[in-house]
């Protein structure tokens, strides 16, 4: 029982990061109706910018408490990746607005590969250790349940970001415009919403969340490499589909479910006679099941395609 609770907790922390990345997929899908394949790579760039910012700013920030330097690095790399996300949208996706979906999808794959291989050229192909931005420490909960300091900070940061996102989407004018655009792009343009600005903002917001996810993920699993974004990116996308793509609370829920299921399968794989390597396949099995039985996702609405 205790082992089960421990696995559940570990899954929750991993899932909260998936949720963060999944939000970016779901928001972009909401406004542009396409899968931004490059999202996982922005996640990777977030982790790398954390690494380099720490290298450059580390000495200057050393006298202060670690929480301040963590916040500075987090906010800076979020801003950096937000700018990058907006740039990607402007250069690669904007010229393709109103083109067939397939073309946009292919471009997105191109952008993803471009970031990965340029990353390989710039950062090197080998894994690099990620600095401990959060000092390692164990917090013992009741009984034998152990939670590390890092896990706790990761979870708190994710919750803060989610609350901030909810505020932006539900209570600001820009959020209102985002919701209007995802409901009906033509109507929102007629009501005076500048769709291009809203789309840029959405890309920026999603990329900032991905960057935060990258730094937090690298804090939990402290090694970074140029291809680290592919698998978490795919899993987060599956989380978005599971929750109902385009649906923001759904993405968060899906992320938690994927994280918990994966950790449980990883923890008990030996008991049910599976190699632990199979844990990475769990998410895809969930994807196939959800596409078979409820393609609109857990919280999504069925959308009828109209002519």
């Amino acid at each position: 029982m205790e082992q089960f609770l421990q696995q559940l907790l570990n899954g929750l922390f991993l899932g909260s990061i998936y949720a963060l990345i999944a939000l970016g997929y779901t928001m972009v899908y909401g406004v542009l109706r396409f899968i931004n394949f490059a999202h996982g790579d922005v996640f990777m760039l977030g982790a790398f910018s954390g690494l380099y910012l720490n290298k450059w700013l580390g000495p200057a920030l050393a006298p202060f408490h670690w929480s301040l330097s963590l916040t500075v690095i987090l906010v800076l790399s979020m801003a950096l990746c937000a700018a990058l996300g907006i740039l990607i949208e402007f250069l690669a996706y904007r010229p393709l607005r109103n083109r067939p979906r397939l073309n946009v999808l292919i471009t997105a794959i191109g952008v993803s590969l471009l970031i990965e291989y340029t990353g390989q050229l710039v950062f090197g192909a080998t894994q690099q250790p990620f600095p401990a931005l959060i000092p390692a420490d164990n917090i013992a909960l009741t009984g034998n349940l152990a939670v590390t300091n890092t896990q706790m900070i990761v979870f708190v940061t994710v919750v803060v970001l989610l609350v901030a996102l909810r505020y932006i989407v539900m209570s600001t004018r820009m959020g209102l415009a985002m919701r209007a655009l995802s409901l009906n792009p033509t109507a929102s343009a007629l009501m005076g919403v500048n769709n291009s600005v809203v789309i840029s903002f959405t890309f920026g917001l999603g990329s900032a969340l991905a960057a935060a996810g990258g730094i937090l993920y690298a804090s939990l699993y402290p090694s970074v490499e140029p291809f680290m974004g592919i698998i978490p990116g795919l899993k987060a996308f599956i989380a978005a589909v599971l929750g109902g793509i385009g649906n923001i609370p759904g993405a968060a829920l899906g992320g938690l479910i994927i994280g918990v299921t994966e950790t449980l399968v990883g923890g008990y794989s030996s008991a049910i006679g599976l190699p632990t390597g199979y844990k990475d396949g769990v998410a895809f099995v969930i994807l196939i099941l959800i596409l078979l039985f409820k393609p609109s996702g857990l919280l999504g609405k069925t959308e009828r395609e109209k002519v």
Binding site: F34, I35, A92, P95, L96, R99, P100, R101, L102, N103, V104, L105, I106, T107, I109, G110, V111, S112, L113, L114, E116, Y117, T118, Q120, L121, I230, I231, L234, F237, I238, V241, P275, G277, Y278, D280, G281, A283, F284, L287, I288, L291, L292, P295, E305, V307
Partner: protein, 321 residues
């Protein structure tokens, strides 16, 4: 005569590849290897073109089906090879039939996987298929990597000692059959359904076309030929491992289809040959290769989404397809 044009072309291609194959012994091994790789690339690109080009879906898992075919064919050759040899005899024809059995088994295994993956995802819109096939590609790789090293599939190290049966005849014969099947299928009255699904799925559906059925058919046929291509690849290289069928292998094929022009068989064949040869000469720039490819994808989509040699180039004026 005109009625049997395609069949005559197929027979001629088989005959020519058989004749050329008789002289392949005199060819430099290095160039022979490139020629065989080009033939296999043509199979992969033309079969992916059926799914991505003609039917308008987007599969990113061609290397996964290739892996299934490669392992299927290799296992038949390695495990059942001796038994087949005793039944069929060890003459040239007997070996040929044994190789044919191995290739078809690999292809059928891949087709079965294609059906399992295609049925749930093809009921939905195109972009899900991209993710599901990408996931399938990963799962196949993970599963093969986690098999026991001394088992039938050889684990992460893969399989070695596969007989080098792939010759010019087999590679280009299979390519000719693949091209024949795809073009005649698309050209037939029934096959117009594929193009209808691509052009407008809703309109096609309301004209009484079973869109899911067409999509699954295209996907399964594409997977079959990817499997055959994989089988040929395994019997060309003599050794295969799971890493060789990763996502990037799929991207290579996708780039061929997009450069050649989605839906243009001639364009895709040329792109497959040109890119295979180019890859060989760009070996020294390996680290820039993927950067160039990915930039090509982006620029092509913005500037010339129909590909370098689109299908419309080869049509008679006044005819639409």
């Amino acid at each position: 005569m005109k009625r049997y044009q395609a069949q005559i072309a197929l027979l001629a291609a088989l005959l020519i590849s058989f004749m050329v194959s008789q002289f392949s012994g005199r060819m430099n091994d290095y160039y022979l290897d490139i020629v065989l790789t080009a033939g296999i690339s043509v199979i992969l690109a033309v079969s992916l073109n059926l799914v991505n080009g003609h039917t308008g879906q987007f599969s990113l898992g061609h290397a996964g089906f290739m892996a299934v075919g490669a392992y299927g064919a290799a296992v038949v050759s390695l495990q059942l090879g001796p038994q087949l040899a005793t039944i069929l005899g060890s003459s040239g024809t007997g070996e040929g039939v044994a190789f044919l059995i191995a290739l078809v088994t690999g292809g059928l295994a891949a087709a079965l996987c294609g059906w399992i993956v295609g049925v749930p995802s093809l009921r939905l819109r195109g972009d899900y298929l991209a993710i599901v096939t990408l996931g399938f590609n990963e799962i196949i790789r993970v599963v093969l990597q986690n098999t026991t090293p001394d088992g039938v599939f050889g684990g992460a190290l893969g399989l070695g000692g596969i007989p080098a049966s792939t010759s010019i005849f087999w590679a280009f014969g299979a390519a000719a059959i693949c091209i024949y099947v795809v073009t005649t299928m698309i050209g037939s009255t029934w096959g117009r359904g594929f193009l209808a699904v691509r052009d407008d799925e809703i309109a096609a559906g309301s004209m009484g076309i079973n869109t899911t059925r067409y999509k699954v058919t295209a996907f399964v046929v594409g997977a079959f030929f990817a499997g055959v291509g994989g089988g040929l690849y395994a019997h060309q290289k003599g050794a295969i491992n799971p890493e060789g069928f990763n996502f990037l292998k799929s991207v290579d094929v996708v780039v061929m289809v997009i450069l050649g022009g989605m839906g243009s068989t001639v364009g895709v064949i040329l792109a497959a040959i040109v890119l295979t040869v180019l890859n060989e000469y760009l070996r020294d720039f390996e680290q820039y290769r993927m950067i160039i490819f990915s930039l090509l994808l982006i620029v092509m989509m913005i500037v010339r989404p129909q590909g370098l040699l689109p299908a419309t180039l080869f049509q008679k004026k006044g005819r639409t397809a």
